[in-house]
Symmetry: C2
Subunit: 434 residues, 2 copies
């Protein structure tokens, strides 16, 4: 299946057969381009002549409470969809909710299909990561087993980039662009000082189990920037002593040392580094337990062990919501997987996820395919070991060739009075009454 | 004195008299547009026919070690200056160094003027905040008292916006644009969740003594964004109990509560909030003292006291180095104050700082003036009390009218392979050998 944004002659005939409505939900952590996928779904539905396009408010969790939005109320002009594409975070609201096993919870599934029937919904699109694809698996399996007419399609999305089958995940490229840009600016900032003691700066990047996001820090390296001196991914067990030794050596020859660390770093015995600082459940004078992140903890360790000046930076949710640094490539691909998931559902497919297939990295050429959801749901893809170099402290050129095309181009936000403007549900929110 | 970017007929005559060279230094915390001021100085020097333009490597601290850069080696084309303007952080390197009192430290001053004479430097430009202006004061006073020929001029710069005499400080507008944009994206992100418990997000913003930067969080408020629910500035003593009560009330009516706090919040008895978490010098199992910032501490307090889900975000150095979100207005003004400071020195002025005077906020019209450095050095300007509203938890419309023009327009970075590219000293660094 190849990318197609135009209509086809077959669509006219498809239309004849389609009577049902469509519902789309967003699930898991938001991204800068998750709403581009939503825009793609809406556009595909309009093209196919779907009567009503609904949105789940707060994903399947809200759907179970019949919290359903009529999206036709929001998107009447092409401007609306353009603005939606430039709006970060989940326009519909999101959730972290896993459907229970069917056995013993038949009532949950019956309720879901009751609501679907009530709104005459035939097409169910769900946009998320590994956990969210589980929802598509459970529902499509249930539908097949119970002779339900509904079609369920998954739309990939995660800044963690850890979905299998797809070359990469929509959302990853924009986070990568944010991290590469910010990392470069941080390195310049850290290099500003340096007459006397060197400054060690530890930057914490998201990714509990996979180091895809942390690896993007290497994109800041170029002729005008030394890049991070060390990059630590969760795929490699973290050794604090070796880390401190490396910092000590670097500080002998550099005034500015910048290190990228994944929030999910673990020691060889399986403990999260971020939990090492609180092993004894210390509380402060007010009885509050003090929690420190991985970077905060490591910066503290560096100063205590070496006497060097250190600081830490956490990109926190900025790395997933900075739509002002969205990658155009990423936004376009997010739109396409949304569009194509809807189109596939209209064509009768169910229990599948759209995937991106890279035919060529230079020039960058992609095609789209779809895969059985059973090989995707709950599976995590990690950074290949052979892409992790320098004894687990950097990434290879092969990785950089892989990631570079994903941050190309930019989708500039619309602005008013110097600040980006967004589409919001609150602005003209109307609940559907069927 | 009004803005002038063109040459004047008088400059030809000035040139006749000028034989000396120029040196420029950057000092204190870097900003996204500090290098625009440097570009302004270089351009003014070229226009005036100054023979050589030197830079201090790491400010006056490096200068004292005769660490001097020949800037003519770096900037040969107009492209170079355009790129410099788009490069964040101190291109020359910076320092935090205060000159000692003359009495008892005559050797320091003699050394400075020896170096100045050695390089035939007649014009000394220094770009920084309150502390940095002290350097201009000390040196111009010394020059006047000892009949030295050199002219010393100050160029304002600080994201803290706390310099007196000038309407606002170059650097502030770009940080404001970064904070307004990021705050809006964070609020959208925080609103994504919310089927079950509300999420409280505390965002920490720089400014130890003045709340100018924290106040910019209010710029995110518009028809499409509720803005931060509370804004706490260091100008108002912080009451933790009242803060927790307000969060509790907000969480009854809102699923997403976002609060902006200054890193410099102090309780009524003068203690920094960020130090409350460590009053008992708790150390972890490794003997490391755990430090938490203001927002981290408050997020912790919220969860402990209310059971609500909380998280914190620190903008850290991102808020001062995010050149990818530079304000065009800010960058232009930074350029102009640099240019005009040099021009004023050529005209014989010394011991002064260039200031921005806003003739009209709408339409936005500025003029430039200069003020005696004695009324500026070491003086901190705070946010006026009458601009702080809602019992110390928000800012007034008057403040918003004040700040809005400063974030208008954008100075887009040059990019390669999807990432901004910068001018760096390392790239073709040549030390001057006189």
């Amino acid at each position: 299946m190849t990318e197609s944004t135009g209509g086809s002659r077959d669509q006219g005939r498809e239309l004849e057969k389609m009577k049902g409505n469509l519902i789309v939900g967003q699930s898991g952590g938001p991204t800068a381009v998750i709403n581009s996928s939503l825009a793609g779904v809406i556009k595909a539905a309009r093209k196919a002549g779907i009567k009503r396009v609904y949105g789940m408010h707060y994903g399947i969790e809200g759907f179970l409470q019949e919290d359903i939005i009529d999206l036709d109320e929001y998107f009447t002009t092409s401007h609306d969809l353009s603005m939606l594409k430039r709006t970060p975070s989940a326009f519909l609201g999101t959730c972290r909710y896993k459907l229970p096993a069917v056995e013993g919870h038949e009532d949950v599934y019956e309720k879901i299909f009751e609501i679907l029937d009530k709104y005459n919904i035939e097409f169910f699109l769900y946009n998320g990561g590994n956990d969210s694809m589980d929802t598509i698996k459970m529902l499509s399996d249930y539908a097949a087993a119970h002779g339900k007419k509904q079609k369920f399609m998954g739309i990939p999305k995660t800044i963690d980039n850890d979905l299998p089958m797809t070359d990469h995940c929509p959302g990853y490229g924009s986070s990568a662009k944010y991290i590469a840009t910010s990392m470069k600016e941080i390195i310049r900032d850290n290099e500003s000082y340096g007459v006397s003691k060197p400054t060690i700066c530890i930057v914490e990047i998201m990714g509990r189990h996979a180091g895809w996001l942390t690896a993007t820090a290497a994109l800041s390296k170029d002729v005008d920037c030394s890049g991070p001196d060390l990059i630590y991914l969760p795929e490699v067990p973290f050794d604090i002593n070796s880390f401190v030794d490396k910092i000590r050596e670097l500080a002998k020859v550099k005034k500015s040392v910048v290190v990228a660390v994944s929030e999910g770093l673990k020691t060889a015995d399986g403990k999260f580094v971020c939990e090492l600082g609180t092993v004894n459940d210390h509380v402060d004078a007010f009885g509050h337990k003090q929690l420190a992140g991985t970077a905060a903890y490591l910066a503290n360790v560096v100063t205590q062990e070496t006497g060097l000046k250190s600081r830490y930076i956490e990109f926190s949710s900025l790395q997933r919501c900075a739509a002002h640094l969205a990658s155009r490539t990423d936004a376009d691909e997010a739109y396409n997987v949304g569009f194509l998931a809807a189109k596939a559902a209209f064509e009768g497919h169910s229990g599948m996820m759209i995937a991106i297939e890279v035919k060529s990295r230079e020039p960058y050429i992609v095609e789209y395919d779809m895969y059985d959801i059973h090989g995707i749901a709950n599976v995590e893809r990690k950074v290949p070991k052979n892409w992790i170099t320098n004894g687990g402290t950097f990434v290879s050129d092969e990785y950089l060739d892989y990631v570079r095309p994903l941050i190309m181009g930019s989708l500039q936000p619309y602005t008013a009075a110097g600040v980006p403007i967004h589409m919001t549900l609150a602005k003209k929110k109307k609940r559907s009454s069927k």
